[in-house]
């Protein structure tokens, strides 16, 4: 059982992680090394389909499934926030301090990094009773490219995973929010963007309250 031998220079009784004898750990890895690296789109599609397949086991409702995808995206958003800010030039390395800069950061930086282009739109809810709701629009979410939703699950939008990422970025910036993905593309023939998806960002009351104070000063 060669695979059970502990690495050279360490023993199982020692606490802590073992490292290769080269001493290289992830802390030696330049954070920008894979900044512009590419992998095949299929490798993402395969992994994502397994992720959705796994998440759809033992679920009670579509919301349940979307929640699971959201939960899996959340930690990514938290980490991307730091990673992307770190990669900004020093002068623009500050965290977003109000809702608009935060949403812009998501629409431009996060999207550009993950999907190679900015999101297609950013809107504020036109309903005056919902000042806490904003919408990020993607006409053709990359994550949904190879996903066809069965008829009996028509409300499902697997971009809930991306919604989770956005939610992670918001939470990490101390703008707690709930983010959900909704399909708004018409399923008619000749429709330009049948996969059009709106990410509805609903900020927590305390965020709105703070924003109100800051706006006045």
């Amino acid at each position: 059982m060669s695979n059970l031998q502990p690495a050279k220079g360490s023993s199982k009784d020692q606490p802590g992680l073992r490292y290769p004898t080269s001493g290289k750990t992830i802390y030696h890895r330049p954070l920008n090394r894979t900044k512009a690296a590419e992998l095949s789109g299929s490798s993402f599609a395969y992994l994502f389909s397994e992720m959705v397949g796994y998440a759809s086991k033992k679920i009670e409702s579509i919301q349940d499934l979307e929640k699971r995808l959201n939960v899996q995206g959340h930690p990514i958003g938290l980490k991307l926030l730091d990673l992307l800010l770190y990669r900004e030039p020093t002068r623009s390395q500050t965290r977003p301090l109000n809702i608009i800069t935060l949403l812009h950061f998501i629409k431009i930086n996060v999207w550009q990094h993950l999907f190679g282009r900015a999101a297609d739109g950013l809107e504020k809810s036109s309903d005056p009773s919902k000042p806490d709701e904003y919408m990020i629009i993607d006409n053709e979410p990359l994550v949904n490219r190879y996903i066809s939703v069965p008829k009996d699950m028509s409300q499902l939008n697997c971009a809930a995973y991306v919604a989770g990422i956005i939610e992670g970025v918001c939470d990490g910036s101390a703008f707690p929010a709930r983010v959900t993905a909704h399909s708004v593309g018409k399923q008619e023939e000749g429709e330009m963007w049948p996969g059009r998806t709106v990410f509805l960002v609903k900020f927590a009351p305390e965020v709105m309250e703070r924003e109100g104070y800051l706006g006045k000063s």
Partner: protein, 192 residues
């Protein structure tokens, strides 16, 4: 196809015929899958390995079509050594832009190792410091399933498992692949 030619073919396809995405999107997505499995199976890493292998198997079953279409090699590999080269230099190249080294053949040419200098799935990764993960979890185990599934679809039954991983503190990341048998073509049921 010789190993050198396979490498050239892989490079050409990667450059010209592959639709690409940001590498970190893939890396982070795989990371969240493994993290979720560890949570769901309450750090029963043996079970996590199994799940990853199963997911890989599902992927492999479908990925082989994609591989054949893109590599345009409609010719069967003449022996298992050629298969190994094609996996490393074309397969891994066109999906993950890496070419693991094929090495450590047994004398009967039925077992080899893939040594991964680079592994995009494991970027940013450190295993949990719980005294067990480094002994039990094979973080990239999905690869084993992918090979098993993909090769099964082209009539090869193989067994694949990792024997070392830099994430465990080993000096290399090495996977062992063994050919169990060539699966005979089964005749389709007769039409009456």
């Amino acid at each position: 196809m010789s190993a050198n030619k396979a490498a050239r073919v892989g490079e050409e396809i990667w450059k010209g015929r592959i639709d690409k995405v940001n590498a970190e999107l893939v890396t982070l997505t795989y990371g969240t899958i493994v993290a979720q499995l560890c949570k769901d199976f309450e750090a029963d890493y043996v079970e996590v390995n199994k799940q990853l292998d199963r997911m890989g198997y599902n992927i492999g079953l479908r990925l082989i079509e994609d591989y054949l279409a893109k590599s345009n090699t409609m010719r069967r590999c003449s022996n298992f050594r050629e298969t190994a080269d094609m996996i490393a230099k074309v397969g891994f190249k066109i999906f993950l832009n890496i070419t693991p080294t094929v090495t450590n053949w047994t004398s009967d040419s039925k077992q080899f190792s893939l040594v991964f200098e680079e592994n995009p799935l494991a970027d940013f990764v450190e295993l949990p410091d719980d005294g067990r993960a480094q002994d039990e979890l094979w973080y990239s185990n999905i690869f084993c399933g992918v090979l098993r599934g993909a090769l099964e679809m082209v009539q090869m039954q193989v067994e694949a498992h990792f024997i070392s991983d830099v994430l465990r503190g080993n000096d290399t990341t090495e996977m062992r692949v063994s050919l169990i048998r060539y699966i005979d073509d089964e005749l389709p049921p007769e039409d009456d």
